[in-house]
Symmetry: C2
Subunit: 152 residues, 2 copies
Amino acid sequence: MLRLNRITDYAVVVLTQMAREPDKLVTAPQLSQDSNVPQPTVAKLLKELTRGGVLASHRGVNGGYTLAREPEAISMLEIIIALEGPVSLTACVDGAEGDCEVERLCPVRGNWDRVNGAIHDALKGVSLADMTSPATMFGVSIEPRARPASAH
Amino acid sequence: MLRLNRITDYAVVVLTQMAREPDKLVTAPQLSQDSNVPQPTVAKLLKELTRGGVLASHRGVNGGYTLAREPEAISMLEIIIALEGPVSLTACVDGAEGDCEVERLCPVRGNWDRVNGAIHDALKGVSLADMTSPATMFGVSIEPRARPASAH
DNA sequence: GTAAACCGTACCGCAGCAGTCCTGTATTGG
DNA sequence: CCAATACAGGACTGCTGCGGTACGGTTTAC
């Protein structure tokens, strides 16, 4: 588990396509067609990405979407935040403390921050440009976990 | 988001208590009482943790649970796996490929492994013992709210 | 003014989780 | 041997949240 929403999954696919031609203005119907994801769904996530500052939108005829910045400057973290809200494994740490009925005797509260921080960094260290990278797909030799000192 | 189940959250609380006296045999009702989590729920997660190899169980009168290993040798990763199954952000990567209708033109498949690997490592790097440590993580002091030292 | 495209919101069905309960099995002690 | 205790396993239910859709509004180009 620890899975992210399917919407976010789709978003990465769509964003990857856009990252290939970073300055091109693309419409939602167009992206839907290219990605095989239903149009209403694509439209929905594009809107959320715009609100999250990942995309820039242009309205009216000949409108569409572009990336807000170069693909290298867009991290997986902000994509996920735009679509799913703040990243944190537990409810305790991000303001919803009232809901935690064991809060008062919970001895681990602050310690989750270590885990959250690690994951935060991991996601921040991977950019959209990284996701567009080589044709290493389809099983064959994705360079094994030891990545060239890009993240932390 | 990217949140884990509440069960897992409870589990860490319970395990933390057990880690204070690693060799002590504790019963589910006892742990329920100490943690303020309903007994059936505690029993459920204890069973799952046992199946996952995190705990060892002893049946019969005077039975109960103990940690399967020292707290230093139990990682957050295996706790999460025991309760939520394999950790991976996307459905694409762990066998459920049939469900992904855009699989054939999905250009990012393999690249998720980089992200998954990073998170994997992050969770593996934090042990149960780390979670029991005093509330002085990151210099932030979490006041211990005076719990009535019941189980230790 | 019209058409193309984004914007916002509301709505619904369904999967998955939280939580409970029940029956079975092992172990201890009288 | 019997009874009590505690774990094992599975079935069941209510509910939240997500995926997906639809609709009406607004902006802009021609």
